[in-house]
Amino acid sequence: MHIMEGYLPIEWCLIWFVVAIAVVAFGIYQIKKIVDETPESKALLAVSGAFMFVLSSLKLPSVTGSCSHPCGNGLGAALFGPAVTAVLATIVLLFQAILLAHGGLTTLGANIVSMGIVGPLVAWIVYKALTKVNVSSTIAIFFAAFLGDLLTYVATSFQLAFAFPAPTFTGALTNFLVIFAVTQVPLAVGEGILTVIIWDRLKEYKPKLLAKLDALAPNEA
């Protein structure tokens, strides 16, 4: 999902930066509030960030014959919401932009919007909607992680199609979706399963903390 350094016209870089900065600023405020209210959630924040660190470093082969990486943004979104996840994603994306020449500083805003905002937002909505109707949080987290990952790549495809609508917007969008989203489907299933495994352990070790963060279905809390 990384848009490479310099591969986005400057006006689009700016637009995405504005969106990203607003959400990341709100996320930093939210993190401060969460840590003040429940200091024991610090470790959980670290784990959510670390989960993104690990998953986004793994470039995995897909059945389409090309490689891509999962995002790990569903876990943070389910626990803390999309704004906090945007902050965590920023750390990961900065590391990759500076040290790995993956993504870039000019395209950082756009990459935060896809991996840190759109994906987590969808994951969070799906997670909250499913747990609200008492679907087990373990099942809800699968769909949150699956869709969070997939929608991250869909968002990137849209961003690129907006910037490069050649020959037409729909034509460009289809091309980018084929490159990104189709490759991503099996990886997103894998990410969903991995997140379920982590979630299951979290529920076993830290049930009270999860309940306090309002991250469980009502009948589980």
């Binding site: 660190f53 090309s66 590391f95 870039g104 495994i197």
Partner: protein
């Protein structure tokens, strides 16, 4: 979940990621397999005659260094997750 269920899930996960290696066995980067989707998108952009206007301030000088940094990234994440889960597990046993 029971440990056996978790192991089954982990195995399914492994199969998803190993299957492509089996399906395209014998193919490689030279004939267009296992390339990165990010690069494919960049090529697509270049086909519209767009010239990248900024390049990375620093790039890993070789594939070796790149894999070093990727391994480092994974290791940092894994250490934090392992530490936290180990700590929580121990905490649970004491209580």
């Amino acid at each position: 979940m029971k440990t056996s269920t978790l192991i089954i899930l982990a195995v399914i996960c492994a199969i998803i990621f190993i299957a492509p290696l089996a399906i395209y066995n014998g193919h490689g980067e030279d004939d267009g397999y296992f390339g990165g989707s990010d690069d494919a998108a960049s090529e697509q952009i270049e086909s519209t005659d767009f010239k990248p206007w900024f390049s990375s301030i620093w790039e890993p000088p070789s594939g070796e260094i790149e894999s070093l940094l990727f391994a480092l990234q994974a290791a940092i994440g894994a250490i934090i997750i392992g530490y936290a889960f180990g700590y929580w597990r121990g905490q649970g046993k004491e209580e």
